[in-house]
């Protein structure tokens, strides 16, 4: 099974078609992209249990935790990821702390 992913990386939007299993989280999808599609993708996470909140990003237009949110396409057929609008974005999906 494949999942189409769009990532807003500031100056451009990249698209990926990744291998997908139904219980994958958005963070699992980002790991898949880093390991097998684009080693330059930048994203932040730590605890993987929804507590540290450092993996927060816009997921299909809504702020959510990438480690907790099940990866699924939005209405346009893409899982769409972008950095949170508030605060300084340093690179791709990484906000400044």
């Amino acid at each position: 099974m494949k999942l189409n992913v769009k990532i807003n990386r500031g100056e451009h939007i990249d698209q990926f078609e990744v291998d997908y299993q139904p219980d994958m989280t958005v963070l699992n999808v980002l790991d898949e992209i880093y390991q097998h599609h684009d080693p330059s993708i930048a994203y932040r996470y730590s605890c993987r249990t929804g507590l540290c909140t450092t993996c927060m990003m816009m997921i299909n237009g809504r702020p959510d935790l990438s480690c907790q949110k099940t990866a699924e396409p939005g209405e346009d057929g893409y899982l769409t990821l972008a950095p949170l609008p508030k605060g300084k974005t340093i690179r791709d999906l990484i906000k400044e702390y």
Partner: protein, 542 residues
């Protein structure tokens, strides 16, 4: 490329509870403090996931006191707990928790009473929490607020430590990489505190955050510090195995639940007939791993009889499972041991000083307090007590130090190497989970050592295709170097211990030896040295 220099009185590496406590207490002594973290400051340590903290206070059980708490630590430590560290913990913890309360921490209450819970291995209830079962978050919020408001403390997120710098046998700072700019800095400090947490990421299934790659053990080793009892790795016995997306999640209510093997047997009756699932973590991990290795896995957790209590006291864990399709109200969960905590670590004294002048260690990075098995909820207690001691004592070092400006670029960027850093990390994890898990054998330990030597060769030929800022490949590369050093220290220490004690269970030596020894690991001229040292104190022997 010249390396810029930054000066501070006290450098703190790591910003979990131990690091934030060290920074706070050093600043209270009116010192300039620089605290850095390779992730988001104050949000990237293992403390985040801690549910409760054990301790003493005006809320303690009427029969509890320092002697009884100390006795429980000694019993759990299987003869390897350092009595000076254990006495310090039980002596200081009351005041340290009170400091946090004075700074705004609110303990969870039942009516007008502080809620005090029982935890396996503690002879009396002495665990308290905050933020409704998220004690770690409560401590971090309180300390982060304190650190942020203190003008004597500078904080830096996303800064990786490459190595500690020494001058005349004294640690005088660290070489670091700022990920947001890809610039190296030389930090010059009168005292340095290692508080980088543990090394759960040496294993593929762990409760630890992604940053727990054993950096502090590796940095300490390379600076000449001694590591103690590194073979003592605690596996959290009852952790989620499936679904994979929450693999490693600790199930804190296992002592109230039932465990079954694939034959439907409540197998703990064979291993701990008196306590069943309410056994210490080492006993439970070995029992579960034995069931799995002898073909009676997978292991299932049944919490249906206590589900109301689970929903109330452990709502976050219940909800995480529910969100991923496991409703513990009517479904069993597949569980097993997951890498959780390093009892071993950088050897310290009661002042949190290491063997190297100018270098302190605290929290999980330090070793010796818990011996062969850490009691539940003593991790945050350790972080608070020894973080504070590290900060206070680091502040006493007032001699100026000087560091020569380095000129070399310590990271070799090779776009055409053969091995991607994340794959090297996976190789380390595979070796450790195959041969250095709960149940160990001599042959497996020797094989792990061979494989780690191969990993070192791979690290000489790494492919880094993205050298830009926030390069995950550079992060993985630096972490892989720390991981292989830490892994080798664990394996060599495990080979040295020719008995089964605490969390180290070797089927070739299933019994205890009559003489109790610590294993001390040092690095000299890039070579590991392991030296046994007989335990002198008779008071901890059990």
């Amino acid at each position: 490329m010249a390396v810029e220099k930054i000066q501070t009185d006290v450098l703190v590496i790591g910003s979990g509870t131990a690091g934030l406590a060290a920074a706070t207490y050093a600043a209270l002594e009116d010192k300039q403090v620089l605290i850095l973290d390779k992730g988001a400051l104050g949000r990237s340590g293992s403390s985040t996931g801690a549910v409760q903290i054990a301790g003493l206070g005006d809320w303690s059980h009427e029969e509890d006191d320092t002697e009884r708490y100390l006795e429980d630590i000694y019993t759990s430590g299987r003869g390897l707990s350092n009595p000076n560290l254990a006495k310090t913990l039980v002596h200081d913890i009351d005041q340290r928790i009170q400091d946090l309360i004075d700074w705004g921490l609110k303990l969870d209450r039942e009516g007008d009473q502080v809620s005090v819970s029982h935890t396996s291995g503690h002879s009396l209830p002495r665990s308290v929490s905050a933020k409704k079962g998220k004690a770690g978050l409560g401590l971090l919020h309180t300390l982060r607020k304190k650190v942020t408001k203190d003008e004597r403390i500078t904080t830096l997120s996303d800064v990786m430590t490459i190595k500690l710098i020494k001058s005349d046998e004294r640690v005088v700072g660290a070489l670091v990489l700022e990920l947001s700019t890809n610039k190296f800095f030389l930090i010059q400090s009168k005292a340095t505190v290692l508080a980088t947490g543990g090394a759960g990421q040496l294993y593929p299934i762990t409760s630890n955050p992604v940053q727990s790659t054993g950096d502090g053990f590796s940095l300490g080793l390379q600076a000449g510090a001694t590591l103690i009892d590194m073979e003592q790795v605690q596996f959290y016995p009852v952790s989620i195995i499936e679904p994979q997306s929450i693999a490693g999640l600790c199930i804190s209510f296992y002592h109230n639940s039932k465990l079954f093997n694939n034959k439907g047997e409540r197998f703990m009756k064979y291993y701990a007939p008196d306590t069943l699932e309410d056994a210490t973590r080492d006993t439970l991990s070995i029992a579960i791993a034995t069931e799995i290795s002898e073909g009676r896995g997978p292991i299932w957790l049944d919490a249906t009889d206590v589900i109301d209590q689970v929903k109330k006291e452990f709502s976050h864990e219940y909800q995480l499972c529910l969100d991923r399709g496991v409703d513990l109200a009517n479904k069993r969960a597949q569980v097993g041991p997951a890498a959780h905590f390093m009892m071993g670590g950088v050897r310290i004294d009661a002042d949190a000083k290491t063997d190297v002048e100018g270098l302190f260690a605290a929290g999980e990075t330090a070793g010796g307090l818990h011996g062969g098995n850490r009691l539940g909820n003593n991790a945050l207690s350790e972080c608070l007590v020894f973080g504070a001691r590290a900060g206070m004592n680091a502040a006493k070092l007032v001699d100026d130090v000087t560091v020569s400006i380095l000129d070399a670029n310590p990271i070799r960027i090779n776009q055409y190497g053969n091995h991607r850093p994340f794959e090297i990390k996976q190789h380390i994890q595979h070796s450790m989970s195959s041969y250095v898990e709960v149940i160990r054998k001599n042959e497996g330990l020797r094989e792990a050592l061979n494989q780690l030597l191969n990993v070192r060769e791979q690290l000489e030929n790494v492919q880094i295709s993205n050298p830009d800022v926030y390069s995950r490949e550079i992060v993985d590369y630096i972490e892989a170097q720390h991981m292989v050093n830490t892994a080798e220290a664990i394996v060599r220490s495990a080979l040295e211990r020719q008995e089964s004690r605490g969390s180290h269970y070797n089927t070739d030596y299933p019994d205890l030896t009559s003489t109790i020894k610590h294993n001390l690991v040092r690095m000299k001229n890039h070579q590991f040295q392991v030296q046994p040292e007989e335990v002198e104190s008779s008071e901890t022997k059990r």
